[in-house]
Amino acid sequence: MNNWLWYVTRSTGIVATVLMLASLAWGFLFSSRETGTRLRPAWWLDMHRGLGGLALVFTAVHVVAAFADPDLGVDLATVFVPGAAQSQTTAFTWGVVAFYGLVVVVFTSWPKMLFRRRTWRTVHLLSVPATALACVHAYQLGSDAHTPAFNVLMPLAVGGAVYPFGLRVWGLALARSQEAPRKT
């Protein structure tokens, strides 16, 4: 039995998830200005964008390979309609929603100037729940989700994105508290 489409589905799924997490990490390091002095801010922004675009490409390959493998039970409705999968419906739904989220975030990154800054930022922050859903999808549906390597490496990758996210939130909280009128 030729399983290569299955192997590609699994490997591109893992790589796409890591790329999404890396893109988040780069984005939060950039916005919290924790990028150090060695590399220019433009480098961080460019990497952030590049990683996001690459995540989309690998997710697309992941979905196409899953669809093309006749044994995985993925039809067009499963790919495009949340809740349409015949089995493991919830797990598939998270994947589909994450995919839509990723598409929206990446395709609104380029024509940024078409949006009001606030609107754009809200849309862009969809990347956080989209990445979280992709991780849940992987845990519920992945054939490798129960292997020791997956259970060590995935949390590490997630931690790598949660840390800069924490820095950003902390920075915002600090700024807010300083802006607040001081009591005399």
Binding site: R10, L19, M47, L54, L72, S143, H146
Partner: protein, 233 residues
Amino acid sequence: MDTDLHSPSPPPTPIDPVVQARLDRLAASRAATTPSTTSGTTSPNGRHRKRHAAKRSRAAAVLMSLTATAGLSAYFQHTDSVGASSTTNSVTGVAVAVATPPAAAAAPNASPSATAASTTPAAASTNTTSALADGTYAGATATNKYGPVQVQITVAGGKITDVVALQTPTGDRKSISINDRATPTLVSEALSAQSANVDTVSGATYTTDSYKISLQSAIDLAHATTVQSSATS
């Protein structure tokens, strides 16, 4: 006045080397800031801005991602082929009578011998269902490389009236999907054949083999129950 119109014009005065160097530098920097469609853009203030400030690092990320994908795929193939070397079914547990009518139930401990369980479907006895004791029988669990398969049959009026898969492999998406597809076919085949002589479902060889073993052990038990209950009566 006598002027010589044919006298040669004086040679041009050479440009001051300092000025020439300046002009060269200017030309070079102009050429560098000319907008090109692929490598950069010129902002309104005329300064050249690179479109990809992290061009090399991005290329490295693409390369690493492709390498990781290839490496993981090769690893998955390797682990799969290692697992494939254990292709035989192992049978664990025995067939048990889940519910039998009083007469059959009176037969003491009818189950174990029924699973003198064959470990390959080829070796499985192909008893048809003649003289099956009514009741519900859970077959032995046949485990292939993807996981366990266990089948339960219900016999009424000496015929198999229902077949249920109690266990099928659920370890990975592929097995789940294959079993979703194969199990209904195997059930309807078993019901119409009234035996474990079912055709292999294409793409589900392991499941079919394990299914046959478990089904046969349940049928054997129903058969043995009949024999024992008629011996005791």
